[in-house]
């Protein structure tokens, strides 16, 4: 087995002897050829605001085939694409490439270096050399964004009203003492009123008696002054009116008698008869005189007073 390996190795040495070494073009080879190629970055400015852009120029010197050099695709290189928005610009001369680069944000601080391999044409060893393009420091300043237009607070106008007066108004609460107090207050006021009334007017019976006495006195005075049957009748009706309600205009003997009967007064018939005598004396020939009628009226009023 080991003999087979030795033979295979010897055979490989024999076969490969005299062949040039194989070198693949590395990444970053843009078909530039020349013994000594130099590539450099240049920018139109190194300080720019965040929202501006710069023009970057890649110049290749020393290449024997400037027209064949391929433009590096910066947009596909992460270190460039992460930093800039890249726009290739047309170039006027071969071996010169121009881009417009717009920083993506204010943290961008450098135009990155670029590996630029070229074919040096040497026959021995690796012909591909790296003319690495050195990056350039940049200063990107942040742009103060204009503040967004404020949005008004839309709400019904009454919501903006505010009561700033002292907040010391406690809601009224009626407890048991308050209700008991109210209950007692009603009783006290009513009781006090009743007592005061009784003090002013000792009692209702006395008051009624006083009222009746006054009526009797007025009637007696009227009878003394009466000089006609009509005056006697008027004095009697005046007294009767103080004893029981008589509607205005209801003063005929029948009406008065009926009112007295309704009031339960026993002398109703006698009163009615007396008033008929008065009417007879007024409107027809009668033996009654005002004096006799006044006497009869006094008797009648005395009976009515006694019946009260």
């Amino acid at each position: 087995m080991s003999v087979m390996r030795i033979v295979a190795a010897a055979l490989a040495v024999v076969v490969l002897a005299g062949q040039p070494a194989l070198f693949e073009p590395p990444q970053g080879y843009y078909k530039a050829r020349g013994p000594r190629v130099i590539a450099t970055w240049s920018v139109d400015r190194v300080t720019l605001p965040e929202d501006a852009s710069l023009v970057a120029t890649l110049a290749i010197e020393g290449a024997t085939n400037p027209t064949e050099i391929v433009r590096p695709d910066l947009a596909n290189m992460r270190e460039f694409a992460d930093r800039f928005q890249i726009e290739p610009l047309p170039t006027a001369s071969p071996g010169v490439f121009v881009w417009r680069l717009k920083p993506r944000n204010a943290t961008v601080d450098r135009l990155p270096s670029l590996d630029f391999f070229y074919d040096s044409g040497v026959k021995v060893g690796n012909p591909f050399k790296n003319a690495r393009v050195k990056g350039i420091d940049l200063v990107v300043t942040a742009v103060e964004k204009p503040a967004a237009a404020p949005i008004p607070l839309l709400a019904p106008e009454r919501l903006f009203a505010y009561d700033s007066s002292p907040m010391d108004r406690e809601p009224f609460e009626a407890g048991t003492p308050a209700w008991l107090g109210l209950f007692a207050f009603g009783l006290l006021v009513a009781g006090g009123w009743l007592l005061a009334w009784r003090r002013l007017y000792p009692d209702g019976a006395k008051l009624a008696k006083l009222r009746r006495n006054r009526a009797m006195r007025r009637a007696t005075d009227a009878l003394r002054r009466a000089d006609s049957a009509a005056a006697v009748a008027a004095a009697a009706i005046g007294y009767i009116r103080s004893r029981c309600p008589l509607s205005p205009g209801r003063e005929t003997p029948a009406e008065v008698g009926e009112a007295l009967r309704l009031a339960g007064i026993d002398e109703a018939d006698a009163t009615e008869a007396f008033l008929r005598r008065c009417d007879a004396a007024r409107f027809s020939a009668s033996s009654d005189t005002p004096m006799s009628l006044a006497e009869a009226a006094r008797d009648l009023l005395a009976k009515l007073e006694a019946a009260a």
């Binding site: 607070l153 709400a155 505010y162 907040m167 009626a174 109210l182 209950f183 009743l194």
Partner: protein, 255 residues
């Protein structure tokens, strides 16, 4: 110690109130810039909440709190403040109107959901009459009844007795209506009011794995009544009687 606390409060409360006034005024002044205004209103609301926490029960404070919270964009806190105010002044018409306005602002997914969730307006004698007004009216009727009886004792005219009886009848009707109102309020308070602080689906059980009870989630500001609690979830009842479960952390307590 209590005296010291009372003294401290008496000194600090006016300062807090003044600061809240100033913050609210700043919010109004900067209303053309909604974001800035909301910051001021939110701070004013915080300060007003401090006053409430310190024991101030003035209904005007509740109104100021509600408006500050609403302008700050916190509708659930606005609703809670209004309920807080109505708890001490149920008759306050301005608070009632503001409550309905805040309920209008709750963003229900559709009219069906609003009909199911939105509580009916407050009703009852207590919403029309303050305790003081009731006290005065009842006192007037009682006094009228007593005076009518006294007058009857003086004159023996039956009309006075009838008047006294009528006053007592009115008093009895008033007392019955008030008692009925209180009984209804007590029945409501037996199931505490909770306000949803953010949109949340009503679940059929106390867990996320349960299916939704309703087709649409309940919106922030929805008012529900608490029935029970279990494992960080609260069983609630909606205005239309639908029951379901909500996470406890999504609910805001009211007085």
């Amino acid at each position: 110690m209590t005296a010291l606390l009372a003294f401290t409060l008496s000194v600090s409360l006016p300062i807090v109130a003044s600061d809240a006034d100033r913050r609210f005024a700043l919010g109004v002044a900067s209303r053309n810039d909604g974001a800035a205004a909301r910051v001021h209103f939110a701070r004013a609301a915080e300060l007003l909440d401090e006053l409430r926490a310190a024991g101030v029960r003035d209904p005007r404070l509740a109104m100021n709190r509600a408006r500050a919270h609403r302008l700050a964009g916190n509708l659930p806190a606005c609703l809670a403040a209004l309920h807080d105010g109505l708890d001490v002044a149920r008759h306050d018409r301005e608070l009632q109107v503001e409550l309905e306005s805040a309920r209008d602002a709750v963003e229900y997914a559709n009219a069906d959901l609003a009909a199911a969730v939105r509580p009916p307006p407050l009703r009852g004698l207590g919403t029309r009459m303050s305790v003081l007004e009731l006290y005065l009216v009842a006192g007037g009727l009682w006094l009228a009844a007593c005076l009518g009886a006294a007058r009857y004792a003086m004159t023996r005219v039956p009309g006075w007795l009838v008047a006294a009886g009528a006053s007592l009848a009115l008093l009895a009707i008033l007392a019955g209506a008030w008692r009925s109102d209180r009984a209804r309020i007590d029945a409501e308070n037996a199931r505490p009011l909770r306000i949803l602080e953010r949109d949340c689906p009503l679940k059929a059980g106390n867990g996320d794995s349960w299916p939704d009870r309703l087709k649409w989630p309940l919106p922030a500001g929805a008012e529900v009544r608490e029935l029970a609690r279990r494992g960080g979830w609260v069983q609630v009842e909606l205005a239309n009687g639908t029951a379901g479960w909500l996470p406890e952390r999504t609910l805001r307590a009211t007085p």
